[in-house]
Symmetry: C2
Subunit: 311 residues, 2 copies
Amino acid sequence: MAQRIRVFAPATVANLGPGFDVLGLALPRPGDELEAELSDRPGVEIVAVTGDGGVLSTDPDKNVVGCAANDVLKRAGSRRGLRLWLHKQMPLASGLGSSGASSAAGAVAANELLGRPLTPNEVVLSAMEGERAASGSPHADNVAPSVLGGIVLVRSLEPLEVLSLPVPDSLHVVVVHPHCEVSTADARRLVKQAHFPLSAIVANLGSLASFVQALHRGDLALLGRSVDDQLIEPLRAQLIPGFSAVKKVAIKAGALGCSIAGSGPSVFAFTASLASAQDVGAAMQSAFRTSAGLESDLFAGTVSHEGARIV
Amino acid sequence: MAQRIRVFAPATVANLGPGFDVLGLALPRPGDELEAELSDRPGVEIVAVTGDGGVLSTDPDKNVVGCAANDVLKRAGSRRGLRLWLHKQMPLASGLGSSGASSAAGAVAANELLGRPLTPNEVVLSAMEGERAASGSPHADNVAPSVLGGIVLVRSLEPLEVLSLPVPDSLHVVVVHPHCEVSTADARRLVKQAHFPLSAIVANLGSLASFVQALHRGDLALLGRSVDDQLIEPLRAQLIPGFSAVKKVAIKAGALGCSIAGSGPSVFAFTASLASAQDVGAAMQSAFRTSAGLESDLFAGTVSHEGARIV
């Protein structure tokens, strides 16, 4: 019987603060799990998907995990195949990089089973094929941190160049996922149709550059001030019931900065301690309840230094 | 007789690479010199301006040096006045921050003569009043490096927050100033009327963030790749005769990266040594001559760690 491995790939916060499409971080949890084994039949077979409420396809050309794993087989020139069991353990369309985590899991599992023929950069490229299947356009700010861990900057897509940024030890992140849905496609369309004023572009350039400076200096107050997105947040905030109230209470409760996770509806905040993250998270959950009647899930912890890996 | 001081304020490269309106650096030379002394008559008197070919006003409300110095007097609540002698030692409308250097000189000289009542941040704010007089809009990416030295990020204008970025020791910069004029007002109008595609915004966000990362890591190759401006350079390149040929030969001659200085027509390049800066500069001058029939001036050296100061 073939050796079966189990891979965990973390959820991520992409479009991080001022860094639309270029900046993302890995969360310690939630994440997806993928069981995988080599097979002598070429190509990818998705044996089962659990935890998705029956929405995801088991057709390997239509499920991101299949697209990503298949791309690894192609890059490695392998004639063997893979059998996959995907266990979704995070909400779909939450803004937490659900398709990115599955894509990362597929790419990392395939690379591990084949004996690591690919570089980390190539694994990210394969995972991006999953994202391309999910959203129609390749972007890397979810899959790169899910594969590599930490806080990752996507400097360029062609050629792909991703950079790991330093993560201050005391930095904590809290994510609140309200129980409503924002279609990633809708959220992207809103952005694609927008006209961006130069003043907003300049503001985001300044804030993103100072975000990187703050990570290097370990200056959490500066990091918080740099979570200032004047390009995308004003557009997408309207898709998230209660967003402005939630952001306001997060700052009032001590958050360093607060914005939309991915394309929403999840909202993230940075804090300087776990205790503060829990306070801020509780205040945000309460605000979602009172301002929009929404229950929510809360995740609080440090940034995960580890990306997708065998567990 | 009142004590007279002489202040040197360095030329600067603003709109640096991907950092439109937010990133600038100080050059060791050229720069402006300003003689200044306290007077018992309130307000600012510009006694003489030299080196400007007779273009600049000696009306303190119409000359940036007067506006900047006057703002220092106001901020400091001083009832005394200033007498100024401005010696322009750099070309006007060159892209090297001529008005920024004069503004910085005026603000720093006034602050020194009054016994340094202002913080460096306030001195930059006063110098910005000069820029406001020159261009109609306050921007800080010339005056901040001219006041502070080094490579400076303007995180936000309101409130003003400027951050000094690390400068790798081996980083050299070469600037070539072709003998033609680009009106700063024209160059800004071109930018203000533009529609910026999201793909270009995302590219500049990625490049500016990696520029900051490269400075912290001392990674000059990454720094060079990060001098990639897809927002502004494509618009303003058309205002500079020979630009594309000059940029091409700069890269071929070994430049790490190359783009427009300020709003042009000067062009800057980064190199990893002084010898390389001189090679690259000679190639750029030759390309301006053969492709556009333009003579030019060349400045090559390290980034200046010092800003405006008494000499």
